[in-house]
Amino acid sequence: MGESKSQKSVEVNAENFSECCSCSCKNIKTILAKYGSDRVRLMDILIDIQTNVGCISKESVKEIAENLNISKVDVEQTLSFYHFFSEKPTGKYAIYLNDSAVANMMGRSDIAKALEEEVGCKFGSVTEDCQIGLFDTACIGMNDQEPSAIINQRVFTNLTKEKVKLIVNGIKNNFDVNDIQIEGYCQATHKLITSNVCSNIKKEGPILTKDMKVGDALKKVILMDPNDVIELVKQSNLRGRGGAGFPTGMKWQFCRAFKDEKHYIFCNADEGEPGTFKDRVILTERPELLFEGMAIAGYSIGSDEGILYLRYEYKYLQNYLEDVLSTLREQNLLGKDIGGKAGLNFDIRIQFGGGAYVCGEESALIESAEGKRGEPRDRPPFPVEKGYLQKPTVVNNVETLCAVTKIIHQGPKWYRSLGTLDSTGSKVMSISGDCDNPGIYEIEWGFTVNDILEMVGAKDVQAVQVGGPSGSCIASNEFKRKLAYEDLATGGSMIIIGKHRDLIKDIVMNFTDFFIEESCGSCVPCRAMTVQFKNKLEKIYRGNGVQEDIDQMLEWGKVMKMNRCGLGHTAANPILTTLKNFRELYTAKLQKTDYVSEFNLEEAVQESCAAAGRIPNLGGDHE
């Protein structure tokens, strides 16, 4: 445990260690002061240190703890929870290559190999000179342009071996990542966005269509009684777009009803569901629509503070979004006395996450925003009663809040005329995988899976993963189903899997690994059963499964319903939905006996024989 200072670590050259990490001490006081030494802002403090120097050293932890008057282990518990925070140096250039299923489908392994060759170190380590680190990361929301990687907050998409060469060459010449020029990338929509990420909007609908002036809806709202605004939202039948589909108006009404000195409105932009990237595009193309929706929500529930919880992967949007916010302040749509109405104050700040899928769960998101580990809370109480800092809080999805702005502008009747009776309005879908035109499609609810497959140019489809790993993997017999809360509900993504793919290996195993990695570790079935599922899955895949293994997995699946949050409830869905819809893929691999041993004597004695210097004698024992 106690590592002596002279000891050289494998990844980090001791000589350069100080260069990589010492500045944590230089800047740390400024960073702590910037956030008023507020314990609640621990995430921001950690993010700033990590972004500045590529790691959060033991000395930094000590200084933070002393300054915030908490224990060192308290800092460590938050620090160690998030994927992008590291106690060990991650290098001057930390390269995070997406390891999602679609990234792999699009040739990720070749890119990984190229990176290792060019950079000169393996994934999970840093070069000896402490310059470059290579790391895996879960879906970064770029499924429509994979393989992709994040390097010091800049996103590089559509990677090829050639691009890898150019990028690593730039890095080795000590270029700022933002100055690395690569031809053939699509133009960024705004000069403050340095990442060449394409928005890929393939079909605009009622939300994405630019048909209103920024601020029109908000100006209308502030002349109304907040209860009437909530009534309008209720009349529209708008339901939460994050996946759970809770009626938005009702959520607001509950929150407003809890009297307190302060209320909060959160926008959940922790778009972590692999395969989903609609929020990225909305935030890039229509951020005003979202911020206006937040202001409307704030007015309705009686809140003067909004927080956009944005995933760390989208940090490249920070400068741009801050710029949009200042423009809105200049236009008096945010800030004090909004729209000239005395005493009407509302402002928005951006809270970044640190890389944790579970923070998409609203109570975990709130915990994280409070500077803690992103562990979902027990409910009741619900956030609308006791949320951020124990105050009544509404958490809404990006798309939900955008829809609010449009509903206010065009009226609930208009909105109800779109979609189906139970699912009004539209859905912005992220489409990726084996199709000709991956990207963003805004469709009205009620479209069938077949409609979409045709729209995006998908042929020879084996399966469609609807709603990401936590959703379900469906086969062609269900392609007639309609996307709607009452039929095939979805948080908004479809991954198309062609007939040439190995569904269990390429998809199910990747998703299962994802859930193991992203569990917060609190509930036993989510933490431990996912690992058992993976082992069983691998046993079957190796061809050593028996019927009992499948029966067991089906039984284990029921236990997952005991978990506290949505992540835990759905963590076995990749296995359970493919067991339901693609059972033959599993049964084909089973042995027709009731017991198979995976024990291999030859392998088991190898090490001890080598240690003792003897040749294994497998004669009579070996079968």
Partner: protein, 183 residues
Amino acid sequence: MSKKIVATTSLAGCFGCHMSLLDIDERILDLIELVEFNKSPIDDIKTFTKQCDIGIIEGGCCNSENVHVLKDFRKNCKILISVGECAIMGGLPAMRNNNASITECLEEAYLNCVSVQANEEKIIPNDEELPMILDKVYPCHEIVKIDYFLPGCAPRADLIWNALVALVTGNEMDLPYEVIKFD
């Protein structure tokens, strides 16, 4: 009713489970009315002389000899019972599984440990006649199919007795609270 034929063995165990079997006291007289022992340290029969009904396995597998014996039991017994923590989950010998590789274990035992005094040639035993050590200690059911499990360290005599009687008579097994223990 013909007697059921029982075989027993201790693999990577301490013979504690066998002791516990003998702890059924005077019921051992009833037992030999019910069963006939074949290969077992109890009667010192070294090899199977006939097909057995019940094989009682004590201990997990830590070396190639254990594996050989266990497979031999599976071949010669209709029913196999893992008796005791070691057979079920490796038990105390398996404490090496999670902390060190087998190389580290052997080096510590034969080369580095403070009590090693006479091994000047730095030899880790390597005689051809010795069983080969496995990389870890394996629960028996990971190597062959096991039909029943009787936990305990050692399993209470009553648990072993109840299980044998149930198997021999075909009646349901009596499982009072006091007999199921893991220590």
